[in-house]
């Protein structure tokens, strides 16, 4: 049983408020044989400037330091790729740094940017992330991804990361899902939902109108997970502009973007699931110490925490993030959320880690209809719509950009610009994609607060990015 000290559990405090004023992203796709990474990065930066009704050159004049998220150097076969992008963006001689934390790279890059502004080092920063995963064939790509596992104890075992991950899914499936056909269907519904929402997102790579049956008939990747349960492999870029209050007012003076308060917290856990040691469940504000005492009776085998079924890093990111912002219950306090749906089953695990449902009951978030834009059972707005972008399953997983894409999506709702940012014909034309005839506006009406969870591999790093309309803070001193 391991424990954590009071100092380690301190709630983080920013020295001054930090604002997200704009964001942008490129088209996302499996491959861009005709584009260099810098072209995608510039595309996303130009968009961020456009949303502020500024020229890119004018926006650059405000930026003081830069944070670049790019995970896999070996995929792009270019060390110091951050330096290439920085130069192509014409941002010399500003200080810049590369950030890499696997699948959480986008979120971690935002984390670094926020701290730079909060500390007073910079008044305005660029946070940009990208990934290039199309320069090797799939087998070689799987090998390169497996290099993120322990090179002596894990990677030689098949060089297939899905395998290292899926053992955790198997345990969750049997213990908490009780291997029930009904749970398998719930997982499939997540895929249907995310591919379906991707149909309304011009940036998204995998829009699909599919049924639960289609998911259940897709090829098995690692039982019970099938091809349509898995996230995409993508290429693309996304960026965000963060700044202090004074700069936020200046930058948005000619824009529909309202500056949004941004908070980012982070947690971690062992690179190898093998090394996870037992501990008590760290509690979130909407949980009580005794509620998990009989978890092992309700779910035989489920008493080991985090075992292979919980993600401690996600739990800790939520713990720090909720503490910073005053969130007690994410379903009540948030209006929209983007989760790291690497697999349908890890989406469910995350509902529990971040306190949307208690441990053991994640599936209810889907089955109740709360996670939908419009609850399919009631026809009313979902209580906490998730992954309206399509998520990693429907929109993209261009690793270094993913956490920033999620944040862009949440911001669109809070700015009340989702319809414009996803519905405009010129965007669909620009990306050479066909806008569906039944295109639906997924703007969450009146959204004031949202969160994005960025997650690495088997749970080594997780960040929580929380956005709030400054007139709707929960903790006034946050």
């Amino acid at each position: 049983m391991i424990t954590f000290s009071k100092q380690q559990l301190k709630i983080p405090q920013l020295q001054k408020p930090v604002y997200l004023v704009s964001a942008g992203q490129s088209k996302f796709d499996r491959a861009f044989p005709d584009k260099r990474t810098e072209e995608l990065c510039i595309e996303s930066f130009v968009m961020a400037a456009e949303l502020l009704n500024m020229s890119p050159a004018d926006l650059k004049r405000y930026i003081h330091s830069c944070y670049y998220g790019h995970f896999a150097d070996h995929f792009g076969d270019q060390l110091l790729g951050e330096s290439v992008i920085h130069d192509r963006l014409g941002l010399d001689p500003l200080g810049n740094v590369g950030v890499k934390t696997g699948g959480a790279t986008g979120g971690s890059t935002l984390w670094e940017g926020v701290k730079a502004v909060a500390s007073g080092y910079s008044d305005c920063v660029l946070v940009m992330g990208w990934e290039r995963m199309d320069e090797v064939p799939t087998d070689e790509g799987n090998f390169l991804i497996s290099c993120a596992a322990d090179k002596d104890w894990e990677s030689p075992l098949g060089h297939i990361y899905t395998g290292y991950y899926a053992v955790m899914a198997q345990r969750y499936w049997q213990i908490f899902g009780k291997s029930e056909e009904s749970f398998r269907k719930t997982l499939a519904e997540i895929s249907v939902k995310h591919h379906g929402y991707a149909r309304f997102n011009p940036f998204a790579q995998a829009p699909m109108k599919i049924t639960v049956d289609d998911v259940l008939k897709s090829p098995v990747v690692a039982y019970p997970l099938r091809a349509l349960d898995c996230c995409l492999m993508s290429v693309g870029a996304a960026c965000a502009i963060l700044c202090d209050e004074k700069t936020a007012v200046a930058l948005t003076s000619n824009s529909k973007n309202k500056p949004l308060r941004i908070f980012v917290s982070a947690g971690s856990h062992t690179l190898r699931p093998a090394d996870r040691r037992d501990m008590d469940i760290p509690l979130l504000p909407n949980e009580k110490a005794d509620q998990y005492r009989d978890l092992g009776d309700r779910f035989p085998g489920g008493d080991r925490y985090p075992g292979f079924t919980g993600f401690l890093a996600a739990r800790m990111a939520a713990y720090y993030g909720y503490g910073m912002t005053g969130i007690t219950d994410p379903t009540d306090d948030l209006d929209v959320i983007e989760l790291h749906d690497a697999f349908t089953i890890s989406d469910v695990q995350t509902y529990e880690d971040v306190g949307i449902r208690p441990y053991g009951y994640g599936r209810d978030y889907v089955e109740s209809g709360d996670c939908y834009h419009t609850n399919p059972h009631t026809g009313k707005p979902g209580k906490l719509p998730s992954n309206l972008s399509g998520g990693l399953i429907g929109c993209m997983h261009s690793v270094g950009a993913t956490g920033i894409m999620q944040t862009f999506e949440v911001a669109c709702h809070l700015w009340n610009r989702w319809e414009e940012m996803h519905g405009e014909e010129k965007l669909w034309k620009k990306f050479n994609r066909e806008k569906p005839k039944d295109w639906t506006n997924l703007q969450v009406k009146g959204a004031k607060r949202g969160m994005a969870i960025s997650h690495a591999g088997v749970g080594s790093h997780v960040t929580a990015t929380i956005l709030m309309d400054p007139d709707h803070l929960i903790r006034k001193d946050a």
């Binding site: 391991i2 424990t3 044989p33 005709d34 076969d77 087998d139 070689e140 790509g141 799987n142 090998f143 991804i145 497996s146 322990d150 090179k151 002596d152 104890w153 894990e154 030689p156 075992l157 098949g158 060089h159 297939i160 990361y161 899905t162 395998g163 290292y164 899926a166 053992v167 955790m168 899914a169 198997q170 345990r171 049997q174 098995v220 990747v221 690692a222 039982y223 190898r272 699931p273 093998a274 090394d275 996870r276 040691r277 037992d278 085998g301 292979f308």
Partner: protein, 196 residues
């Protein structure tokens, strides 16, 4: 005629023999939809690394001798005193003192159970295992961690009792030299090169 790169250490220096890289020419990538105009080039590369196991070397050497080693923190003042680790941890994660190396072979033979598993049809480039790969994660009595490995015979299931087998003939000196079979498997059923 090329030769695989081989290395030994003498006077604390790496001594190299053979080829550590192979040359393959770059070729153009052209657009078949657009008059075969140039889009890029291939960049072939094949290179051999030299990797030190450091304080874990004894673990990998022991596999080839049919032994499963683990480590334990024996520091009296450490809050995790007595915790046993496999994967092998050279230092205690709490007090950072050097752990004691212990022989876990018997404990493994008597108590190893499948904590979770996955049958994986796919593999990545450079995979040396037969597919489907039967990943198993193994719990042991009195051990703080859950080791990842693979099952060589039979179908995995939760809580199934398994026993370790070792590639004692023609070892690779990697984690692949350790595998598992269901309790009760006979010696003559083991994969080539492996013994109990």
């Amino acid at each position: 005629m090329s030769m695989f790169g081989q290395v030994f250490v003498k006077d604390n220096k790496y001594k190299l023999k053979g080829d550590f890289h192979h040359l393959t020419p770059c070729t153009p990538i052209r657009d078949a939809d657009s008059g075969f105009k140039l889009l890029g080039v291939t960049n072939p590369r094949d290179m051999t690394y030299m990797h030190s196991y450091g304080g874990e070397a004894v673990f990998f050497e022991s596999l080839s001798k049919g032994k499963l080693l683990a480590t334990r923190c024996d520091q009296f003042e450490c809050e995790s005193k007595g915790s046993v680790y496999i994967p092998f941890r050279i230092h205690c994660p709490d007090c950072l003192a050097k752990n004691t190396v212990i022989d876990l072979t018997d404990v493994a033979r008597k108590t190893a159970r499948v904590h979770t598993f996955m049958v994986c049809e796919r593999s990545g480039a450079f995979n040396m295992l037969d597919t489907p790969i039967k990943f198993i994660n193994i719990e042991f009595d009195g051990v703080a961690t859950i080791l990842m490995s693979y099952l060589s015979i039979g179908e995995p299931d939760m809580q199934m009792r398994v026993v370790p087998i070792f590639r004692t003939s023609g070892p690779t000196f990697t984690i692949l030299d350790l595998s598992w079979v269901p309790e009760g498997t006979r010696e003559d059923q083991l994969p080539e090169g492996f013994s109990f």
